[in-house]
Point group: C2
Chain length 120, copies 2
C-alpha cells in the first residue's frame, strides 16, 4: 500500500509516518520495475510496527528506545543474546515505571485524603 492508505489505516499522519521513516523505525520499499515514480510501498509489518510505536510512545518510550525494540524484533542486526538483553532491559524499565506509578497513586490518594479532611 502507499503512504496515504497506511496513514488512513493506522491513524498516523503522513508527515509523522515520514518522520518515523527518517528516524529509522519503519521502511517502505520502492518497486524497481516502476521507473516513472519513486513511490514507497508499505506492508502489513509496517502497520504492525506503527501500532507498536503508538503503544510504546504512550508508555513513555522514546523514539530511540522504540527503535531498539523494533530492531530487536524485526531486524537481523543483533544476535539472539543481544536481542534478549535489549528486551529484558525494556522489561526492567517497564517494571520501574509501574513502581513509580503505584507510588504516585499513593501520593495522590494522600492528597485527596488531605483535601477531604481539610488538611490543605
Amino acid at each position: 500500500m502507499l503512504i496515504n492508505e497506511l496513514s488512513k489505516k493506522t491513524g498516523i499522519s503522513i508527515h509523522t509516518i515520514r518522520f518515523y521513516e527518517k528516524s529509522g523505525l519503519i521502511e517502505g520499499k520502492q518497486d524497481p520495475s516502476v521507473k516513472s515514480n519513486n513511490y514507497f510501498h508499505y506492508d502489513e509489518v509496517t502497520m504492525e510496527k506503527l501500532e507498536f510505536i503508538s503503544d510504546a510512545k504512550s508508555v513513555g518510550f522514546t523514539i530511540k528506545e522504540i527503535g531498539q525494540i523494533i530492531d530487536a524484533w524485526y531486524n537481523r542486526k543483533y544476535t539472539k543474546k543481544e536481542k534478549l538483553e535489549i528486551l529484558d532491559d525494556k522489561l526492567i524499565s517497564l517494571e520501574q515505571k509501574m513502581k513509580e506509578i503505584k507510588e504516585m497513586k499513593k501520593q495522590i490518594l494522600q492528597f485527596k485524603d488531605d483535601v477531604v479532611n481539610d488538611r490543605c
Copy 2:
C-alpha cells in the same frame, strides 16, 4: 534557604528550579525587610514540591499537569470539589498508564518468546 541550598538538597539544578518557578510550580519569597538585595527564600514546602515534581515527571506528567496537581494540593484557588475532580482525573490517567504498561509488558514478553523460538 536560598536557591543554592535548595538546589543541593533536592539535586535539582538552579536553572531548572528557576524554570519551575517561572512555570508557576514553586514560589520563593523575598524578605521585605532586606532592601540591599532581591534574593528569594525557599521553605520546606518548596522542597516537598520539588520532590513531587521529580516523581511526577518520571511517571510522565507534563509541567502543566504537575501544576494542576500542586494547585489542587497547596493552593486556595480551587474549591474542595474542584480539587477532588483534578486529583481524580489524575488517578484515572495513572490507571490508564498502568494498563498500557501491562499491555506493553505482554507485548515485549511475546517478542522475547519469538526471539527464543526463532520466530524472527
